[in-house]
Structure formats: structure tokens, C-alpha cells
Amino acid sequence: MNTEPIRLLIIEDEAPIRRLIKASYGPTEAHVFEADTAEEGLRATARHNPEVILLDLGLPDQDGQEVCRQIREWSQTPIIVLSARGQERDKVAALDNGADDYITKPFNVGELQARIRAALRHGARLKTQAADVPFERGNIRIDVGGRLVFKGGVEVHLTPNEFKLLALLVRHAGMVLTHRQLLEEVWGPAYADELHYLRVYMGQLRHKLEDDPARPQLIRTESGVGYRLLVDG
């Protein structure tokens, strides 16, 4: 395991939330940098070069969306957006503006740490370009390079689009993908609003891969936002 402490930047105006996140990591596990305004956050991003940024959307001085855009202009550091429930539109906008994932307040600390781990892995994948490690969860094994999918050791036949969709999720394993991102990637930009395509294909994928399609353990629906491939650990 990676024993290096992770460098984490929290851009959030509520001190108790910052404290809570900070407290969830032991002193050897993470270096936590804090910023309570957007301006300070941007400066801290440049100065500390964090591995993951946690960004609150409701900052006092600047719109969170704008912060997202500005960071993305010069940095690929994964951004996880902190947002309140009911702000699905803002979340989607942030994701489309370059954020990598989101977590809804109030959040479970374990869940947050899982998101951070997924984001770190994703960042590492981007750097090494190594996408050939087969994905495994439960009895499912997905070999993106070999275009093969197994369930309990038996090969599952997928249509080309089903596979494209699944491969996309695997490349972003553990992280959310918005409807728009999925549709544009698989069917093309002209289909960005054909939400029912996704509904139909996700249904098909679940029926082929999940043990109980109504209680998915592999592909999670992020209501109003998109889909997420769940990962172990």
C-alpha cells in the first residue's frame, strides 16, 4: 500500500466540515490544506499541488463552477465537489465543467474516503495510461483490452454499445459519469439528450450482469446525475 501521506486540499467555507474531514485522517495518512474562499483555494492549488481537491459549491466569494473551470485550465488534479442535496443541477454543471466526482452533504466519512481513493486511482491511471488491468468486483470480471466480460467464470455476450458503455464506466471506475458524458461518448454528441437510451441499456446491462437487477451491486444510479461503477474497497 501507498504509505506516503496524501495531499488533500479542502476548499470549504464551513470550518466544522473542514475539521470533520481533517479529523477523519490520521496525521500520517494525509496532509490536509484548507482554504475558506475561492480565491484562497485557487492560490493553495497552485502552491501545494494537491493530489485531490474537495470543493464546496457554495463559496462566499465566487461561484464553485467558476473555480472548477479555472482549476481545469492548468491542472488535471481530481476535483470532488461537496454539495447539498437537491442541487443536482449544480452537480451536473460542475461535473460538465471538469469536476471528477461529487459527494452529497451530509456524507458518511467512509464514503468520502472511498471517493477520494477512487479519485486518486483515476489520477494515477491518467498519469500511467495503464488501462489494461482487468476490472474485478464480486463475480464479475471485465477485460476492457480483450473486450471480454465474465460473470462467475462464464463469458457474457454484450452488444457493441453495451460494451462501450461498460468500458467507459470501467475507465472511470468508482467515479460518477453524467448522462451527457455517457451519451456523447457512446452514441455521439447528437444523442446527448436521449436519456431513455441510457435507461434501456443500463437495464439490459444490469439484467446481464447483476444477480438481482433491482438491487444493483455493480452499476449504481446517481439520481438526476448519472451512473457510477462501484469498486471494492
Binding site: I17, S24, N161, V200, Y201, M202, A214, R220, T221
Partner: protein, 891 residues
């Protein structure tokens, strides 16, 4: 190139046709007299319509005891007649309200010209029919030719009977269909003799009176002509719509002059017939001249104007000294081509002396045609306007004459030695002129006669006698008389003009004052108060303004009248009727004339905004000018009230926007300020709970309690906020294609911890269609239902979710085997803050209320049922979308 249709005509046609879809259609069965079979034909057609499947009812049937007619009505639904007690007897009338409430497709109403019993809503049945039509009900009715308003005189001439039950021609003109029921006079007489029309006792009387062959032939001709005109009208409507060039000159305009005498209504009818035959636009005017007009004359003029209005004329009241001049001026201003006047009724000598209106019209009218109509000789001598004038003898005028002439005589006597006859006549002239300036014509004439007699008796030779020696005195006497009369005529006219212009000035000033005040007033109450006060003062009556509430549409009396007459239940009903229909009613009108007040609607651009109620003292009549002015007041008032209504609306919209802003600001603040600390508490407790350093079981328990309770509090706050958002309407639905399975899966994932220990099974059919739903909200519904199930079932219970596609919707069932609902709770649990008696107050009492709000916002329904022997089932029914989404394509 074909002629383009006249846009105005097209619009009018559109209005008629557009109206026809909302307004009911009228079919009229027209006959020349009773007994031709109108009712019979109407009933046969009614039966036929019923066979075709139409909803036909009989509103009123006048069978005159004829068996075949009664038999024919067999099988048709009848609206029970309304019984109206009147002077000890009970009259049976058509029940308008029952018909309106029944709202049939077609209602048969016999005898259109009938006059309703006193106490009915309308004075006449044709008004009942109008109301049925405006309610969108089709009406078939019967009428005889003699009841046409415009034919009233002609019928009187033919039959010698004056028909009192007349109806405006416009009622018939509105009919989409006029069917003539024709029978030759001989056949009709034969039928009467057979007793098919009247009971035997009445046969002879009928045949000797109205049903003389001579009469019937003439009436038949009238009926045939009228029907032909109706057909002609239809042809023209079609031709106009198709852009066919009209073959007649359409710029013809006709003007009828109304004078205060009995001929006026006759002239109006004649003018209407002319205008109708030539398809001309027509006007009716009267001139308020300097001549004093009695109340009876004013009434005659007013009635003639009303009649003209009913017959479709545009009416106007002119004022000025020269009657003919005013008429010609009006005619020129309105491009009148023909002026219709009655033949003069005054004796020839009067015309020579005072001139005649007809003469000066002929002389001054230039290229306008003058059409002079003869009066109808109805046996009664024409009413002498002077006879009905209230005569109050002005003794001062007569006294003045006597005194002045006496003084002149004394003066002449004193100056006798020095002044000759010529000088004395000058002194008398002075006296007579003085009288002429201040007294009326009769008094002046008397004074000049007195002067001549005195001059003759006392001062001309031979003195002491009335003989005249020198013929030149006749010249002196004549001059004396002529001068005195002309001065008096001039003076009288000037005085009268002064009076008229003072009156006009007063009215104008009052109107000006009203509009000025109305413009400066902001609140409706003030406007109404002021207007009521003005009406009371200017019209010397009691008045109230009733304003229509913008929210409820109910009338409220803004400033009450002095006597409070408008608060009577009956009067309130009249006022409401007026406010609903936008037409006037009450006293002096044909609708509910039995009420004590007159009610004018305040019609503004966006409909009726209120009612002006006016109570005139007993015995006071409504005259034309008065009514015009009152109407002008009402118009001004309507505009002013509408203006404040609009201003208020915009203020309210503004306020609403502000309120909404405040509410959402408050919501987000509360949501943020409550939930951030809660999130921190829950998060911290959670960390504590899972911390490896916390070893004391007691401390662990405490941390556990903090964590679960914080989570519960979080849920409560969430539900409260959601309920508030849903209720304030600040949540906007964003429907997208959703899969039920996916939504339930998402909800289940979130609820896994609370559902621990329950066996949850979801079995949805695989072909369940996608629905247009707001995913987040609907997931919320499922989460609430799962949480609800967890709360109300013991560990080890099962929760089973199934779904089914019905014809028009999809049903999703949540079943559990927890305790049953107590009877009556099925509905109660969906109410806010309501909890089932079987639970011990664990939930917020909002979860199910939120579910219902959300499901109903999607056009669906949610309900609960108990399952025997144990368990509860929640059913969510969601409508299927109009069309399914297109299937995805595989590239």
C-alpha cells in the same frame, strides 16, 4: 381578378360562426296565424332529432287542448313548469332555471312572443330564449307573423287589432333557421271549422274576428315575405363571405327623425322596414329644442328611441334651437342619404306662422333625399302635446302686462296735452316691448291687445269709443302687435336657449368633475364612494356602487346607498345577474322589471367590473338624456375601476415575486444553517463509532446513539424542508424518461441500513415501460415508502415490491406484513403530521404526505390498503406517457 371579401364582413361572419359554436342555434317555426301547425311540426322534428340520438327536451308546450299535439309530445322529456302565484291564481310558466340546469342539447319552447307572468326573471319569453342560447343550448320555437315588432302597424292596419305582444325583429334575424309553416287560408278556415284549432265554443268568434279570409291572405303574404327576407339574408351572408360583389349600393344611410308625438313609433317602424328592405344602415335622432317638452312627450320620444335601438338603429339625442338645422348637420356629418320624417300633424296656419320642420328640411337638406311618411289613422286623435303639459299659470306675466299697459296709459294721459297719437303709440310700444322681454308669448299677445284697446279707447278719435276714424291707426295697431310678438318670441327663445345651455353646462361640469376625481383616486372604494355620491346629487336619486371582487367574483357594496335598497335578497339577485351577463336589468328594463332599482353593468375591456345600482323615487320616469348621461357615468366608472384593478394586479404580482424570493431565501438559509451542523454531528459521531481507540462499551453505545439520532434528525429536517418546498410550489417538476426498476434500486441502496433485518424482494415485470418522471422526487417517494415499511414492521418481516402495467397507467405495489391499518387510517396516514396509531410516534408524520404530493404532481395517485390477515399495501398509480420513446439504435 375576383373581388376580395370585405375584412369587416368576414370578421362579422367569423363572430357569428364563432359565436355559433358557443352560442346555441335558434330555429324558428314561423306561421301566419294560430292553427297552421307550427307546434305540430316542431314536435315532429323534435321526435326526429331524438331518434337521431340528440338530447331533446320540451321546455314549454302550448297544446291548446289539441289531442294530436299532446300525443306527439309523448316520449319527449318535459321540464316541469314553474308555478307562479299571481293575484290569487297560479300561473304556469316555462322554468328557465330548470332548463339551464338540465342543459339539454335541444329545448323546444313554444310561443316565443309570450309575456311572462309578473315575478319571472324576464318580462318576455324571447329573453328566456336568449339566455338559453347564450348558455349554449339549442332552441326551437314557434312564432306568428303578427308578433314582429316592425310589422306591428301593418298588422294593425290589416286586422284592426293592435298586437301588444311584439318581439324585436333582431331575435328572429339571429335565427340560424326560419321554417315557414304554410297553409292556404281556405285550409286554415276549414281546420278551424272542424274544431281542430279552437274549442267549438270559440270557433264562430274566431272566424268573425281575426280569422277573416281577408286578414289571413294579407298575413300569409307578410309571412311569406318575411321568410323570403330571411333566406335573402342567408344568401347575402354566403355571398359576402365568398367575396361576391354586392349588386347594390351599400353606402346608403337612412336617418329617421323622432318628434314628440304619437307618430314617432310608427315612423321608426316604417324607417326600419325601409332600411331593412334596402339593406341600409340607419340612424334615429331626436332634437331637444328650445321648446319646453312635457313629461309625457319626453316619454314618447324615449320609447321611440328605445324601439329604434331594438330594431337595430344607432340613436342619438341632438340639441339646438333649430330642429331642421341640427338634423341636417347630423345628416351631413354621418353621410346620410335619406331622411325620413312624419307628415306634419299641425294645422296649416301654424305652419305658415311658425314654419314647419319638414319645409326647412326640404329647403336645407341639399342632396339628401327627404322621405315624408303619412301618419297612421288609428281612430284616436293625435295626442295634443299641449294638453298633457302641466299647466301652472304664471300670474306674474299677466299681472306685469296689466300693470305695464296701465302705466303707459297713465303716462299718455299725463302727456296728453303735448304728445300726439303717434308719440302715444310709441309709449305703448315701449310698454309692450318691456312685457315681451320678460314674459311669454301669450302674455305678450295679451299685453299688445290691451295696449291697442287702451290706445284706441282713450286716445284715438273718437275718444271714449272703440271706433277708429282714421284708417292709418290700423297700421299702428298692427305694428304694435307684430313688434310685441316678435320681441317676445325672440326673448323666449333666448331664455330657453340659456336654460338649455345651463343644463348642458351643468351636466358637462358634472361629468368633468367625475372624470377628474376618478383619475386622481387610487382605491376602488374611494372611486365607488365618490361616484355614488355624484350620481345621487346629479340625478337626484339614491345610488350604490357594487364592485365585483377580483378573487371570488362576488359583488360587494362598496359604499352602500342611503336607503340600503340594494341589500335586499331579491335586489342582490338582480345585481348578480347583471354582473354575470354584463347587460342591464331591473326597473325600466325588460329583465326583472319588478325590482325596485335599476342596475347598470360597469363593463370595461376585461369584462364586467361591477354594477351601478340606482333607485329612483316613486313615480319618476327615465328619460333619454338622463339615461344617456347615467350610461356615460357608468362607462367612466367602469374604466376607473378597471384601472385600479390592473394597478392592484401588478402590485400583487410584484409582491408575490418578492414573497417568493423571500421564501426561497429563507428555505435555503434554514436548510444550510440547520443541516451543516447536523452533518458535522452525524459525521463526527460516525467517526467516533468506527474509531478503533474507543474501547469502553458504554462510550461506544453513546457514540452509536448520537450517530443514529443525528441521522434521524437529518431525515426529519429533510422531510420538513421538502414538505415546505412542495407546498410553496417552489419545486419544479423535471420529468425525464425513467426506469422504475432503476429508481427502486437507487432507493433500496440508500435504505439498505434502515431495512436491515427485513427481507426485501423486488419483482418487477421486465417489460415495464419507461415513464416520464422526475427521478429525484420519485426516488424520494420510494425511499419514504421503504423507510415507512422499516418503521412499521418488526424485524424478520418482509417487504415485497411488485409492478403491473394497466391500460392507462403503471401500478407499483409495496407490500409488507406488518400490523394492519386501523379502519379509517387508510386516508388519514397521508395527511400531514398524522401517524398511525399502531406506531409509537417514530416518524415525522410527513413522509407519506410528501409521497402523495409528489405522486399527485405527476398526475398519479397513491393509496393504502390493509391486507388480510396481516399487512399493508401501498399502491402507486402513475400515468403512462402519451407515446413511448423511440427505441435506441445500435450503430
Amino acid at each position: 381578378m375576383s373581388q376580395r371579401p370585405d375584412p369587416d364582413a368576414l370578421l362579422a361572419k367569423l363572430a357569428t360562426e364563432g359565436g355559433a359554436t358557443e352560442r346555441g342555434c335558434l330555429k324558428v317555426y314561423l306561421g301566419m296565424a294560430a292553427g297552421v301547425g307550427k307546434t305540430y311540426t316542431m314536435l315532429s322534428d323534435g321526435q326526429e332529432a331524438k331518434r337521431r340520438g340528440e338530447d331533446v327536451v320540451v321546455g314549454f308546450l302550448q297544446a291548446h287542448g289539441r289531442r294530436e299535439t299532446e300525443d306527439l309530445a309523448e316520449g319527449l322529456e318535459r321540464i316541469p313548469l314553474k308555478e307562479i302565484p299571481y293575484q290569487g291564481i297560479t300561473l304556469e310558466e316555462f322554468d328557465l332555471d330548470a332548463a339551464l340546469a338540465r342543459k339539454p342539447g335541444l329545448v323546444l319552447v313554444d310561443e316565443l312572443a309570450h309575456t311572462n307572468a309578473p315575478g319571472s326573471r324576464h318580462r318576455r319569453r324571447w329573453q328566456d330564449v336568449q339566455e338559453l342560447l347564450s348558455a349554449g343550448i339549442n332552441v326551437a320555437t314557434t312564432v306568428n307573423i303578427q308578433h314582429f315588432e316592425s310589422l306591428n302597424d301593418v298588422v294593425a292596419q290589416i286586422t284592426g287589432i293592435i298586437v301588444t305582444e311584439t318581439l324585436p325583429d333582431s331575435v328572429i334575424q339571429e335565427a340560424q333557421d326560419v321554417e315557414l309553416i304554410d297553409l292556404t287560408p281556405d285550409e286554415l278556415i276549414h281546420r278551424i271549422k272542424e274544431g281542430k284549432v279552437y274549442i267549438p265554443q270559440k270557433v264562430d268568434q274566431a272566424l268573425d274576428g281575426f280569422f277573416k279570409k281577408r286578414n289571413l291572405v294579407a298575413l300569409r303574404e307578410l309571412a311569406l315575405r318575411r321568410t323570403a327576407e330571411a333566406v335573402d339574408q342567408q344568401v347575402r351572408t354566403f355571398r359576402a363571405a365568398e367575396g361576391v360583389k354586392e349588386s347594390w349600393h351599400t353606402s346608403e344611410r337612412l336617418l329617421v327623425c323622432i318628434a314628440p308625438n304619437k307618430l314617432s313609433t310608427h315612423v321608426v317602424r316604417a324607417a326600419h322596414n325601409m332600411a331593412n328592405a334596402l339593406h341600409e344602415e340607419w340612424y334615429a335622432v331626436t332634437v331637444e329644442s328650445t321648446r319646453q317638452v312635457s313629461e309625457a312627450e319626453a316619454k314618447v320620444v324615449y320609447e321611440a328611441l328605445r324601439l329604434a335601438e331594438q330594431l337595430g338603429a344607432k340613436t342619438s339625442i341632438l340639441s339646438g334651437a333649430g330642429i331642421a338645422d341640427e338634423i341636417v348637420r347630423f345628416a351631413q356629418a354621418h353621410n346620410i342619404t335619406t331622411i325620413v320624417v312624419a307628415k306634419p300633424v299641425q294645422p296649416r296656419w301654424k305652419e305658415i306662422l311658425f314654419g314647419s320642420v319638414v319645409d326647412s328640411l326640404v329647403r336645407h337638406s341639399g342632396d339628401i333625399n327627404i322621405h315624408v311618411i303619412r301618419g297612421v289613422d288609428d281612430g284616436a286623435p293625435p295626442a295634443n302635446p299641449l294638453a298633457v303639459r302641466n299647466k301652472t299659470i304664471d300670474w306674474r306675466g299677466w299681472g306685469l302686462s296689466v300693470v305695464t299697459v296701465a302705466l303707459a296709459t297713465v303716462a299718455c294721459g299725463l302727456l296728453d296735452p303735448w304728445v300726439k297719437e303717434a308719440g302715444k303709440s310709441m309709449i305703448y310700444l315701449l310698454a309692450v316691448a318691456t312685457v315681451g322681454f320678460s314674459a311669454g308669448m301669450a302674455e305678450s299677445a295679451f299685453a299688445s291687445l290691451l295696449a291697442i284697446l287702451c290706445l284706441n279707447y282713450f286716445f284715438t278719435a273718437p275718444r271714449g269709443t272703440f271706433q277708429v276714424a282714421n284708417p292709418q291707426y290700423y297700421v299702428v295697431f298692427t305694428v304694435l302687435a307684430a313688434v310685441s310678438l316678435s320681441i317676445s318670441a325672440l326673448a323666449t327663445r333666448t331664455r330657453e336657449e340659456g336654460r338649455q345651455s345651463a343644463l348642458r353646462a351643468r351636466r358637462t361640469a358634472a361629468l368633468y368633475e367625475l372624470s377628474r376625481k376618478l383619475a386622481a383616486t387610487r382605491s376602488r372604494r374611494e372611486i365607488a364612494e365618490f361616484a355614488a355620491e355624484q350620481v345621487r346629487n346629479v340625478f337626484e336619486c339614491d345610488a350604490a356602487v357594487l364592485i365585483k371582487s377580483r378573487k371570488t367574483g362576488e359583488l360587494f357594496s362598496a359604499p352602500g346607498s342611503r336607503s340600503g335598497f340594494e341589500n335586499d335578497d331579491k335586489e342582490i339577485a338582480v345585481a348578480n345577474w347583471v354582473a354575470d351577463r354584463g347587460t342591464r336589468a331591473g326597473r325600466f328594463t325588460d329583465t326583472l322589471p319588478g325590482s325596485s332599482g335599476l342596475y347598470l353593468p360597469l363593463n370595461a375591456e376585461k369584462g364586467c367590473v361591477g354594477v351601478l345600482a340606482v333607485l329612483l323615487g316613486e313615480g319618476r320616469a327615465l328619460d333619454g338624456a338622463w339615461e344617456h348621461l347615467l350610461q356615460t357615468y357608468a362607462n367612466q366608472l367602469a374604466v376607473a375601476i378597471e384601472r385600479t384593478n390592473l394597478a392592484k394586479n401588478s402590485t400583487e404580482t410584484h409582491l408575490e415575486v418578492e414573497r417568493e424570493k423571500l421564501r426561497s431565501a429563507l428555505l435555503s438559509t434554514v436548510s444550510h444553517d440547520l443541516r451543516t451542523p447536523l452533518a458535522v454531528i452525524a459525521g463526527s459521531a460516525d467517526q467516533l463509532r468506527s474509531s478503533t481507540t474507543l474501547t469502553d462499551p458504554h462510550d461506544r453505545e453513546l457514540a452509536e446513539a448520537v450517530a443514529t439520532e443525528a441521522e434521524r434528525l437529518e431525515r426529519q429536517v429533510r422531510n420538513l424542508l421538502d414538505m415546505t418546498r412542495l407546498e410553496s410550489g417552489s419545486i419544479e417538476l423535471r420529468p425525464e424518461w425513467q426506469s422504475i426498476e432503476e429508481l427502486i434500486g437507487g432507493a433500496l441502496l440508500r435504505c439498505e441500513p434502515v431495512l436491515a433485518g427485513r427481507s426485501v424482494k423486488v419483482s418487477l415485470p421486465q417489460n415495464l415501460p419507461l415513464l416520464r418522471l422526475d427521478g429525484e422526487l420519485m426516488e424520494h417517494v420510494f425511499i419514504n415508502l421503504f423507510e415507512n415499511a422499516a418503521r412499521h414492521t418488526p424485524e424478520g418481516a418482509y417487504v415485497h415490491v411488485t409492478g403491473d402495467q394497466k391500460s392507462g397507467d403503471v401500478e407499483i405495489l409495496f407490500e409488507n406484513n406488518g400490523p394492519c391499518l386501523i379502519k379509517g387510517e387508510e386516508e388519514m396516514i397521508f395527511r400531514k403530521f398524522a401517524r398511525s396509531a399502531s406506531t409509537k410516534g417514530r416518524g415525522s408524520g410527513l413522509g407519506l404526505a410528501i409521497c402523495r404530493s409528489i405522486v399527485e404532481a405527476h398526475g398519479g395517485a397513491i393509496w393504502a390498503q390493509s391486507i388480510q390477515p396481516q399487512g399493508v399495501r401501498f399502491v402507486i398509480s402513475l400515468p403512462l406517457p402519451d407515446k413511448a420513446p423511440e427505441a435506441p439504435v445500435e450503430h
